[in-house]
């Protein structure tokens, strides 16, 4: 009797816990909708921080640009030439699918996304539409914070690449966005796609 009762009690507790978690997860993963907006506080309190999850994975639209980081180092009034800090990692990862370079490339790539403003939480527009005066929505502080963080990581990465330059005082980063040719021009070998550059201001060298 005791055994049966304990089994049913455990099953009931598990069912309630799982039911709560997966109901919250279902709404957490849906696109912005009225039910989600109404219960957002509860949903986030269940999911964050332990169960934060993002399954966009190349959706709704996949990444379609190459993001490259170039850096140069400044000593007094002199500067070194621009160095490509992305391609060697990508090439290494192409040579060996199990190398560490594929993952080591990620901090830089993520930092560039933060600077270009593509990585904001998707629930933010939902909250800000409903509660424009919410602290999270005023003055676009989150965007500024993301940009600052991305810039800091880039500063560290470029500084690390300048570590071998004697007397280096400052570093500069350039983001190169390369859009490969569209599907309709895939056979045109002359078409190398479009290049855009964003050069960041000089920053202090941070060892």
């Amino acid at each position: 009797m005791y055994r049966k009762l304990s089994v049913w009690f455990a099953a009931a507790v598990c069912a309630v816990v799982l039911g709560t978690y997966f109901s919250a997860t279902f709404l957490y993963l849906t696109p912005p909708n009225p039910v989600k907006a109404r219960h957002l506080g509860t949903i986030l309190s269940v999911e964050l921080p332990l169960f934060s999850q993002n399954w966009h994975l190349f959706a709704p639209n996949p990444v379609r640009s190459n993001l490259l980081l170039a850096g140069r180092c400044g000593v007094g009034s002199q500067t070194t030439p621009w160095t490509d800090l992305t391609t060697p990692f990508v090439a290494g990862h192409h040579r060996n699918r199990f190398s560490r370079l594929g993952k080591l490339l990620r901090p830089t790539q993520d930092a560039l996304y933060l600077i270009l403003g593509r990585n904001l939480d998707e629930w933010r527009p939902l909250v800000c539409k409903r509660f424009p005066t919410d602290e999270r929505c005023r003055n676009d502080r989150e965007r500024q914070k993301a940009r600052e963080l991305g810039t800091y990581i880039v500063q560290r990465v470029v500084s690390a690449s300048c570590a071998g330059v004697p007397g280096v005082q400052r570093v500069q980063a350039r983001i190169i966005v390369h859009d490969p040719p569209p599907w309709s021009r895939r056979h045109d070998r002359q078409d190398a796609g479009k290049m855009r550059y964003l050069t960041l201001p000089w920053m202090e060298y941070v060892p």
Binding site: R3, K4, S6, V7, W8, A10, A11, C14, A15, V17, L18, Y21, F22, T25, F26, L29, P31, P49, L50, F51, S52, Q53, N54, W55, H56, L57, F58, A59, P60, N61, P62, V63, R64, S65, N66, T87, V90, H93, H94, R97, F98, R100, G102, K103, L104, L105, R106, P107, Q109, D110, A111, Y152, I153, R156, V157, P180, P181, W183, R186, H187
Partner: protein, 434 residues
């Protein structure tokens, strides 16, 4: 009805899958720790790419790296993580190790948020659920030990929790696929069938020399783009039927993730996703598959049970038989085996009834034990060059102890008269004895 449900709930299900998932996730972690050993201070150190003061300003939750800002502490934690991952993989104190391993992976992933991909994300959620799973019941060191005292009392409740936790992992996986599938269905490039082209044109997700052949071909691009969305959306519903699960979801999933791993280079993502697939197969299905494999590849070996060296070797070979494909039987006294032939050379009979002897049996045993695979080619070469001679040279000199009622004194020189006859010790002289 309720009684049957209650007894079903209080029995562990998916134990084999849980064991395989544990081993695969553990091996992934050991591999990752080894891979980033050189970069540990850069990635997670106090003066690394995301320094300690910034990390602490984020108000970290339950993170072991928040304990100390010392680089030595980071090294110690990292080494502890490696040890925990190894113990988790081999299934030693599995439940405790699962908790510690989850805590380490959670800490290391949230210490530096810039490294993770979808594979890391699913892994840290699944590892949390794994704490409640009895992942050490099979294929583990724990399974070779006696259960702790008092386990029988709480076993039914633990089994209920285990079953629900396995369900949680599978549901989480289904939610992942459904979520990404529906988001993809909303995307313009996934709708017009060209998403794969644009992904493969991004160098970080491409494979120069191979990708060109894929992305220039409209049939492959459109087929794979739509196939991806279709696979992801139907993953959950197709799990509900046994045949669609075994014949469609699992093979398609392997193909899908191995393709992503090879062509797009998302190897660790493929590894962590496929680590969860063993949980999609029930224990009964594993047993049925095991039975079929044993029938096809099983081998009965007839050895000399009167030869101490042979018995010792057999004991070792039995331990190395990880797939339980070998059955060792002493030929002594068996009427179904030609005693004279078996006395001369070790014999084996495979699933199709083919009999082999001597060196060929050695080769058969080596091919069935993964730990002996390095010996397969050398043994084959020896067999090719020297035939059965090396085996005969060893076998003919073996010591044979004939069992019998000799408690205090055994006659050393006496010759045995038959399989059940007198006691004694003798040197093997095949062909000379009855």
């Amino acid at each position: 009805m309720l009684g049957r449900l209650s007894s079903w709930l209080s029995t562990d299900h998916f134990s084999v899958g849980a064991g395989l998932t544990r081993i695969s996730l553990g091996a992934w972690a050991v591999f990752s720790y080894t891979l980033f050993w050189r970069d540990r201070q850069l990635l997670w150190g106090p003066h690394g790419i995301y320094p300690f003061d910034r990390f602490m300003a984020d108000d970290p939750f339950l993170n072991l790296f928040a304990i100390s800002p010392s680089p030595v502490f980071v090294d110690a934690l990292y080494l502890a993580g490696v040890a925990i991952a190894v113990l988790f993989t081999v299934g030693y104190w599995t439940r405790v190790m699962t908790f510690l391993h989850w805590l380490m992976i959670w800490s290391i992933q949230t210490r530096n948020d810039f490294l993770g991909d979808g594979g890391d994300n699913i892994m840290r959620i699944v590892l949390f659920f794994m704490i409640f799973v009895n992942a050490g019941a099979v294929l583990s060191l724990d399974s070779t030990r006696k259960p702790w005292r008092g386990r029988a009392l709480v076993q039914p409740v633990l089994a209920v929790v285990h079953n629900f936790a396995v369900l949680a992992i599978v549901l989480q996986l289904a939610f992942l696929y459904m979520s990404t599938g529906l988001y993809k269905a909303m995307g313009e490039l996934w709708q017009n069938g060209t998403a794969l082209y644009y992904i493969l044109r991004v160098d970080a997700f491409s494979w120069p020399g191979v990708a060109e052949y894929i992305y220039r071909n409209p049939y492959i691009v459109v087929g794979a783009t739509y196939g991806t969305v279709l696979f992801e959306i139907t993953f959950g519903p197709l799990l509900l039927n046994r045949w669609t699960r075994l014949l469609s979801v699992i093979p398609a999933g392997f193909l899908f993730h191995l393709g992503i791993g090879a062509v797009m280079g998302l190897t660790t993502f493929a590894w962590s996703m496929l680590s969860l697939y063993p949980l999609l197969v029930t224990d009964g299905e594993y047993q049925a598959a095991g039975g079929w494999i044993r029938r096809q590849f099983g081998l009965t070996v007839y050895y000399d049970g009167w030869c101490p060296a042979c018995t010792r070797s057999v004991r070792w070979l039995d331990r190395l038989d990880l797939f339980s494909l070998l059955r060792f039987v002493s030929f002594r006294g068996l009427v179904s085996v030609d005693q004279r032939r078996a006395e001369r050379r070790i014999l084996s009979v495979d699933g199709r009834g083919r009999m082999r002897e001597g060196m060929d049996v050695m080769l058969q045993i080596a091919t069935r034990s993964p730990l002996l695979w390095p010996l397969v080619i050398p043994v084959w070469l020896i067999r090719l060059v020297a035939g059965q001679r090396p085996y005969d040279a060893v076998a003919s000199r073996r010591l044979i102890l004939v069992p019998g009622p000799c408690a205090d004194h055994c006659a050393v020189e006496s010759e045995p008269k038959g399989p059940s006859a007198p006691e004694g010790v003798s040197s093997a002289r095949p062909g000379l004895r009855p």
